[in-house]
């Protein structure tokens, strides 16, 4: 099959099946065929074509793609067309990948605290395992498109949970890179200090291939570290997985997880322990992660979108809770934002201390399976930690990892009793992506959860 044939088939499939999941923001067929033809010429020449040459993909609609609509999932930006590519898109083009579609997302990446999955210009992200369930957010289309097999991989972004949640709900693998590993040039900013761009794909191997292409220096993003991502050599990876100390608490599965999710999550942990047997008890520092992360991203997001929030166009967005959150956030005190930021400094030091005791931290990605499409996301808020309440383990690993800028890998570990996917996450020190990938590659060689497919 030629790259042009593959691109044509992928675009046809996205056009036919994408609406079933509200996964596609816009097709980029003309561009895809042009890039595919370039890939075919490169393949015909032979030589050193990259692994991604001719491979189609989708990009979250938060990323700029020259000449295509870039709506950020929000009605006020439905006609926005940017004249440049995001750096991640440029790097994938240079690696030979073919952009087939912009993928749906929660409006403005959900920074105001949306109540319903319908908070998106494309409608609620529907899960390929059950279209009556949510695909997760805010990278809703990225999770659904990969989960449904519409594209082999997609780009998503995470401020706090937006790669992990769709990966868990849709049964796919995702990587949240270390803050600063991947350029954010051309990506809608929700939070300058939290946003990360990362891949979603079937396997850790595929995610690593994409990460190799998109990581690295970029003069257009001052927050980029300049570091690159390279996998461990096979022998080094085997030794690293055998020796890795996995920090784990367990209560988040034993106490917090839903009845539907608990069994599959526990079995996933047991499977991982057979592959990486050096488990040690580890718990996150005791800090107010929820107030910290939401104060930071909603303050930064409200500042970024202040002109919109104070304009009539803001009324075009459907989720009233999200809008109320952003309006209120315009009045966050500097004292409180800066206190949240100072606590990030404390967190970073305490995480460095924790990583003296273990090399990675394991937890479930989400404690529940995908929620019904019409269920309010704040319908059953987690009870606050109170003295005397049962311990909740490392249930705060997503906000903690994001606040500390740490990398994570999210991977499926089976199906809950309701037939919906559940997943685990591993978080490591900054720039430990090679180790995280090695562990999950080993896990996926020994298990078949990543190969499960929903009926389409």
């Amino acid at each position: 099959m030629s790259a042009v044939e593959l691109a044509t088939e992928t675009c046809d499939r996205l056009e036919r099946l994408g609406p079933r999941y509200n996964a596609v923001a816009s097709l980029t067929r003309t561009r895809a065929l042009r890039e595919a033809a370039t890939a075919d010429r490169a393949l015909a020449r032979g030589g050193s074509a990259s692994t991604l040459t001719g491979i189609p993909y989708g990009a979250k609609d938060l990323l700029a793609a020259r000449g295509a609509p870039t709506t950020w999932g929000a009605a006020p930006y439905r006609k926005q067309v940017l004249r440049y590519d995001a750096t991640a898109v440029t790097k994938l083009r240079r690696a030979g990948a073919v952009l087939a579609a912009k993928l749906a997302m929660v409006e403005l990446a959900g920074g105001g605290g949306y109540r319903y999955p319908s908070a998106s210009l494309q409608g609620p992200g529907r899960n390929p395992w059950d279209t009556g369930r949510w695909s997760g957010g805010s990278s809703s289309g990225s999770g659904a498109a990969v989960g449904a097999g519409l594209v082999p991989f997609a780009l998503g972004s995470e401020t706090s949970g937006s790669i992990g949640t769709p990966a868990a709900y849709c049964g796919v693998t995702g990587i949240r890179p270390t803050y600063g590993l991947v350029s954010r040039h051309g990506a809608m900013a929700l939070s300058w200090t939290l946003d990360k761009i990362g891949p979603l794909a079937r396997t850790a191997d595929d995610c690593a291939t994409v990460l190799e292409a998109i990581a690295g220096p970029d003069a257009k993003d001052a927050t980029v570290s300049g570091k690159r991502f390279r996998r461990l050599a096979p022998g080094t990876a085997r030794e690293a997985v055998a020796a890795v100390r996995v920090g784990y608490a367990g209560e988040e599965i034993e106490v917090v997880a839903s009845a539907e999710a608990r069994g599959a999550l526990a079995r996933g942990v047991e499977e991982l322990e057979r592959i990486a047997p050096r488990f040690v008890e580890a718990r996150l520092p005791d800090l107010p992660y929820g107030p910290m992360v939401s104060t930071v991203y909603i303050a930064e997001g409200a500042t970024i979108f202040a002109d919109l929030i104070e304009s009539d166009r803001f009324d075009e967005m459907p989720d009233e809770r999200q809008k109320a959150g952003l309006r209120a956030a315009l009045d966050i005190r500097a004292r409180d934002y800066l206190q949240a930021m100072r606590l990030r400094t404390v967190l970073a030091q305490r995480m460095r201390d924790l990583f003296k005791e273990c090399d990675v931290i394991l937890s479930c990605t989400r404690t529940v399976t995908a929620t019904p499409i019409d269920q309010a996301l704040d319908a059953a808020p987690a009870p606050p930690a109170t003295p005397g309440a049962p311990p909740r383990g490392n249930v705060g690993l997503i906000p903690a990892g994001n606040l500390a800028g740490l990398p994570a890998i999210f991977f499926p570990c089976g199906l809950g009793t309701d037939g919906l996917p559940v997943g685990l996450q591993l978080v490591g020190p900054p720039f430990s992506e090679p180790l995280l990938v090695a562990i999950v590659e080993a896990y996926q060689r020994e298990t078949g959860h990543h190969a499960l497919r929903p009926s389409i």
């Binding site: 927050t223 809770r321 209120a328 009045d331 206190q339 990030r344 400094t345």
Partner: protein, 46 residues
Amino acid sequence: MAEDTRPKDDLERLADEARKQLEDNAKALRATKVPIETEPPATYRP
């Protein structure tokens, strides 16, 4: 505190809840003491 009887998606109720959430967050942040020398992560680069 009396239960809010307004509809869940009432705009004034949502606005009140959003402000209260920010206040609750602020209380939690201020209750967590940090050493006086603690600086926020540096992002400014001259």
